[in-house]
């Protein structure tokens, strides 16, 4: 029994390598783990569908994505998943842990891109903003100094339960301009947070919480993801002082060459502004093309993280600083949370 | 120690009467057994006296005090269940101390009383065992000790020996009787076992369908049953026609057998040896059967043999 299996296996071996040889660069199906929801649908409509029409390559999506999952994938040595969506900070972590491959930018041969999206280890495919928003009818803050001024702008706040979403805004409230935020003055930021913590009703974990809490009138002001609040007449919002960040698509370490070749093709599709415009119909987060504004509806430009008017008033996430300091800050964050 | 008096005690469940107009008077120190088949209402009656249940009508007196509406813990009654109802989480000693603690008797005095009670039921030395570590007979003794340790006014026993095997049961019957006599406590026992009732009690009360059938001393109830039910429930009854057309009952011990021609002729159907006695099932002429119990004196009649059967007319008790 054993022997027969062995012989059969040995016979199949050259046949298989032969097959894969002829099929090189022509994997017909690869798998991707992305963050799910509307974002996943935008990937489907904007990039996966056009890729299939042009090349016949299928991309199967799964969600959600987390660094823990990626680490488990790589450490277990499996190669079934090629593409993995990661936040900007997490890309650095994954790089440090050796969980992702370098991007072969020559093979991708992308259209024009904002420089920060063209990372050595990942394709920054989607800009998303973390901004201030409020329930219509309350006094409207113009910047984070006002947002954090709970006397002049009374009302309950809803802030993210993540230090990297909270501290830079607190620092702005303490008077630091957006181009001087990093290196982050952590202690000053926590001091500011301590001042308003009694007015923070909820520290949110899920992006769906702040709009719902504002609708229920549990809170009046939120720091939340722009895509969750734009276009809803119940809310007012401002990109001023907001954080622009990028989601990256990366290639899982140890992926097969054929799968990687298919991945470069998907990344090429992702760089095309016309595809990014299609994706922006599904979600109000935008791709990395500087030429995208011209393809987007004029009346909706105020909604997008990368439109000229918004990109200039936001700061861009400093993933490197967080990679270097994240764990130490997190300990302080946990201590801060215990003081609530 | 007190007397017990029931006046017209009735307990209804809907239209069904578990106890129906029961009257009973038990004098101080007396041992009375309530005897009846299952479903006759004897346990209901006991629970009414114990205060675990309330009568629909009628009154209950203990020691002259009307306790009809008193709760169980106000009645000062020692109650022993067939299932022992020992507290499984307590030791033997703790079980016996329980009623004393409730009465705010503690310390050395309680300890002495409890150990005395355990000695009375011959369980000294087993104080620190748990009920689960005892045999059925030992558990029942603990229940007895627990029920008498606080010197209750009356002692109620609900089929206390029903769960034990025959030999142990007979042993404990003797002990129970001695214990009752030692303590002089007014005692009511409920049982369906007529032998137990006859051997233990000063008087028995036969109950059927919630109604009193007869209250009398055991021998009287046996030899002079008040009615056909009592006659049949207590031992074996031979029913015979009286000259005046009424029915009478003759007990097997009163039936005489002889080889001669003095009585009615009968054929031996079955002969059963019971040690000192032989019980004969006899077929009289005319399709009537009679049971006779005669002392075994070395020889016995064999089935098929013809014998002569007779009884004194004084031994026939008329029943309705």
């Amino acid at each position: 029994m054993k022997r027969r299996t062995f012989v059969g296996g040995a016979a199949a071996l050259p046949a298989m390598s032969l097959l894969s040889g002829t099929a090189r660069a022509q994997s017909k199906e690869i798998r991707m783990i992305e963050s799910g929801g509307a974002s996943g649908e935008s990937i489907q409509k904007g990039y996966i569908d056009p890729l299939f029409q042009k090349t016949g390559i299928k991309v199967v999506r799964e969600s959600p994505s987390s660094l823990g999952k990626l680490r488990a994938l790589v450490e277990s040595g499996q190669t079934s998943t090629t593409l993995f969506e990661l936040g900007s900070g997490v890309v650095l972590q994954a790089k440090k842990l050796g969980l992702i491959e370098k991007v072969d930018w020559a093979a991708v041969s992308p259209a024009a891109m904002f420089p920060e999206a063209k990372d050595e280890y990942g394709f920054g495919y989607q800009y998303f903003s973390t901004i201030m928003a409020w329930r219509k009818g309350v006094k409207e803050p113009k910047n984070f100094t006002e947002f954090f001024d709970t006397k002049a702008f009374p009302g309950k706040r809803c802030l993210p339960d993540y230090p990297h979403y909270c501290l830079p805004f607190a620092l702005q409230a303490a008077g630091v301009p957006i181009d001087k935020l990093f290196p982050l003055d952590v202690d000053t930021a926590f001091k500011k947070l301590n001042e308003i913590k009694k007015d923070v009703a909820v520290w949110w974990k899920a992006g769906a919480q702040p709009p719902q809490l504002m609708k229920d009138n549990e809170v009046q002001y939120s720091i939340c993801w722009s895509g969750r609040v734009v276009g809803d007449p119940a809310f007012g919002l401002s990109f001023a002082g907001g954080k622009a960040d990028l989601s990256f698509i990366c290639v899982v370490k140890g992926s097969k060459p054929d799968d990687k070749a298919a991945a470069w093709k998907l990344m090429h599709e992702m760089s095309l502004p016309e595809n990014q415009a299609k994706a922006a119909e599904v979600i109000s987060y935008t791709g990395p093309s500087p030429d995208l504004d011209a393809l987007l509806p004029k009346d909706k430009l105020w909604q997008f993280p990368t439109s000229k008017q918004n990109k200039d008033v936001q700061y861009f996430e400093n993933a490197q600083w967080w990679a270097d300091n994240g764990e130490a800050v997190n300990k302080k964050w946990e201590a801060f949370k215990l003081s609530l | 120690m007190s007397d017990i008096r029931l006046e017209g005690v009735t307990r209804r469940y809907g239209t069904f009467a578990a106890a129906d107009q029961v009257d009973l008077s038990v004098t101080q120190g007396e041992f009375v057994t309530i005897l009846g088949p299952s479903g006759s209402g004897k346990t209901t009656l006991l629970s009414l006296i114990a205060g675990l249940n309330r009568p629909t009508s009628g009154r209950i007196f203990i020691g002259g005090r009307d306790v009809t509406n008193a709760t169980a813990q106000e009645r000062n009654i020692g109650l022993v269940f067939q299932s022992y109802a020992l507290f499984p989480h307590m030791t033997v000693l703790q079980n016996v101390l329980f009623p004393l603690g409730v009465r705010r008797i503690g310390g050395a005095e309680a300890d002495r009383l409890a150990r005395d009670a355990l000695k009375l039921v011959r369980l000294d030395g087993l104080e620190n065992r748990r009920p689960s570590q005892l045999s059925g007979g030992q558990q029942q003794r603990v229940a007895l000790a627990r029920a008498v340790v606080f010197k209750p006014d009356i002692l109620l026993l609900d089929e206390p020996l029903g769960a034990l095997d025959r030999k142990l049961r007979e042993e404990l019957q003797v002990e129970l009787k001695q214990l009752q006599r030692t303590l002089g406590v007014t005692t009511l026992l409920v049982t369906h076992d007529q032998e137990e009732a006859l051997s233990l009690s000063d008087r028995i009360m036969v109950l059927d369908k919630g109604r009193t059938q007869q209250v009398a001393a055991p021998t009287e109830a046996y030899l002079k049953p008040a009615n056909r039910f009592v006659a049949e429930f207590l031992g074996i009854a031979n029913f015979v026609s009286l000259p005046d057309g009424r029915q009478g009952v003759v007990r097997p011990e009163r039936v005489r057998l002889s080889a001669g021609e003095q009585g009615k002729s009968a054929r031996v159907v079955e002969a059963i040896y019971l040690g000192q006695m032989v019980r004969y099932h006899l077929a009289l002429d005319g399709n009537q059967t009679v049971v006779a119990a005669v002392p075994f004196l070395g020889t016995a009649h064999a089935p098929g043999e013809r014998v002569s059967v007779s009884w004194e007319s004084a031994d026939v008790w008329p029943v309705t």
Binding site: G68, K69 | V102
Partner: protein, 273 residues
């Protein structure tokens, strides 16, 4: 002979258990002791000692778990006792109602509390309508919200074993106690309660241990204000990621849980000895 043949029957299951359940746990726990290429190390535990904040989160988790367990007992014990007094039909309905939450997703149940207890929720509207309060009462986004949510989710784990123990108590034991002169209070505290204590302890222990691992409810009903160890572990595993640190914390959590369990077993054996 019989024993060994029995073993051969369960051996495949045993192998599955070891491979599928035990091995990953051992691997996970081992992570804290092994550094790639450097071998055995205790630095991650030393790291914990240097970051007492993680231990404080663990302490906070224990405190919340204890409060939720006590709340569960306060609600669950009378509930189970009340169920014991019902007829067989009433019992069946009551059990169905108690078990019902098992069939509803924990997320749905958690969000349902927002509808009930939120500022504009049913309870607050009723309170303000009746004039009992002027401003909404903060039921949610604090420890109270977490306690309510966890008590709701975990109630069946306490009530079912407790109810099972209570219906096993022979009524005649209680009658015997009454006939021996005990008033209802004494009957409850000296007879009924001690007999339900093992089930109460087992149920409470189960609830407490489950509380330690709660994630969704504290995150949503606690409004992020109630740090729990599982949320911290999520951060350490999925965001930072420091699996080694997470493993060290998990090990401590496991040890604490086992210690509690051992203490319970000891008490239980003492009680039944």
């Amino acid at each position: 002979m019989t024993r060994s043949s029995g073993f051969s029957f369960i051996a495949p299951l045993l192998v599955l258990m070891v491979v599928a359940f035990n091995a990953p746990i051992v691997y996970m726990l081992g992570l804290a002791f092994w550094e790639k290429g450097r071998g055995f190390t205790l630095e991650h535990y030393e790291g914990l000692a240097e970051a007492p904040v993680y231990l404080r989160v663990l302490g906070n988790t224990m405190r919340i778990a204890l409060i939720a367990t006590l709340a569960n007992i306060v609600i669950g014990y009378p509930l189970a006792h009340w169920m014991r007094g019902l007829g067989s039909r009433g019992r069946m309905i009551a059990i169905a109602l108690v078990v019902l939450p098992f069939w509803v997703s924990i997320l749905v149940r958690t969000y349902a509390w927002i509808v009930v207890l939120g500022n504009g929720g049913i309870v607050n509207r009723a309170l303000q309508w009746s004039g009992l309060t002027d401003a909404p009462v903060s039921f949610l986004y604090n420890e109270l919200g977490v306690t309510i949510g966890m008590a709701n989710v975990l109630l069946p784990f306490l009530v079912l074993p407790l109810f099972a123990a209570m219906i096993r108590i022979d009524d005649r034991l209680l009658q015997a106690a009454a006939s021996l002169g005990a008033p209802p209070r004494t009957i409850f505290w000296k007879v009924y309660f001690p007999l339900t204590l093992p089930a109460l302890a087992a149920g409470a222990l189960l609830v407490f241990i489950l509380c330690l691992g709660f994630y969704v409810t504290p995150a949503i009903l606690g409004g992020g204000r109630v740090p729990m160890i599982s949320n911290l572990l999520d951060t350490l595993i999925n965001q930072i990621p420091r699996w080694e640190q997470a493993s060290a914390i998990s090990t401590i959590l496991l040890i604490v849980t086992l210690l509690i369990f051992a203490a319970y077993r000891r008490l239980d054996r003492k009680a039944s000895a």
